[in-house]
């Protein structure tokens, strides 16, 4: 449990292209901030994977690799919590329609586990619709356990 109370707020923001390279870039940017914030290897793996899954959703399912659409990405560490926001410009989706990947009938599905993994690995996770279109997700990991 690192003591980061002395750390100043650090924010990194980017407008990323709708490519898989951006997925790698976002993961690297977050991990650099999270390492400076003092998260251990296990948390770094969880944070990195949650960001990767969120970016894949934005690039692949949201913006559908559209070169004219961007993924807005921001990571902030304020000493107590690491907050990541990822927003796409896609058509959005019905949050209530996500199937439960742990239901027996869904166990052998080849997709549909991304948001479940994000929820499992982060302390907070929110999704919201953007106007006129798009989806923004907010991921939070506490530097110090509640």
């Amino acid at each position: 449990m690192p003591d980061n109370s002395q750390h100043a707020t650090e924010t990194v923001e980017r407008a990323l292209a709708s490519t898989l390279d951006s997925v790698d870039s976002a993961e690297e940017l977050v991990l650099a901030v999270a390492q400076r914030a003092g998260f251990d290897d296990d948390d770094l793996m969880k944070i990195g994977m949650a960001v990767r899954e969120s970016m894949v959703n934005a690039v692949v399912h949201g913006n559908r690799y559209n070169a004219n659409k961007k993924v807005r990405f921001a990571v902030t560490h304020n000493g107590h919590r690491l907050t990541i926001r990822i927003a796409d410009e896609g058509e959005g989706f019905d949050f209530e329609s996500l199937p439960d990947p742990l239901a027996p009938e869904n166990l052998l599905r080849t997709s549909g586990r991304g948001i479940f993994l994000i929820r499992s690995f982060m302390d907070e996770f929110e999704m919201r619709h953007l106007e006129p279109g798009g989806t923004e997700v907010t991921l939070v990991k506490y530097t110090v356990s509640k």
């Binding site: 997925v23 894949v56 742990l102 052998l108 080849t110 997709s111």
Partner: protein
């Protein structure tokens, strides 16, 4: 490094040594192509050695499930070997650990086919 696949034959079992990252893009498609190739060659006993896999995302998990289903539906068996803690944890939280036949010892895994 993305993913590196090396295939070897031990008796009638095809062992695939997988190393690196199985993630959306090159990593998961390489695994998919390799498994499809084995199925086309009528190789029915496949052991995936994941000991050197240091990262797998939901797309990679999907490829493991897809491979398992395809091999099983073609009358074959796909088993997993040498899961590290991270991969094992992932399969446990997604409730897939009990779906796959998972082994920690190669000789024992080969005998189990």
């Amino acid at each position: 490094m993305s993913v590196k696949l090396n295939t070897r034959q031990v008796g009638d079992v095809t062992v695939v040594d997988v190393a690196g990252r199985i993630t959306l893009g090159e990593g998961s498609s390489a695994l998919r192509d390799s498994l499809r190739d084995m199925i086309n060659k009528n190789q029915k006993k496949i052991l995936l050695n994941l000991g050197e896999v240091n990262y797998i995302d939901s797309s990679g998990i999907g490829e493991l499930v897809s491979g398992f289903t395809t091999v099983t539906n073609s009358g074959g068996q796909l088993k997993l070997l040498n899961l590290n803690k991270r991969v094992k944890d992932l399969l446990q939280i997604t409730k897939l650990y009990t779906v796959f036949d998972v082994h920690e010892d190669e000789a024992g895994a080969i005998r189990s086919f």
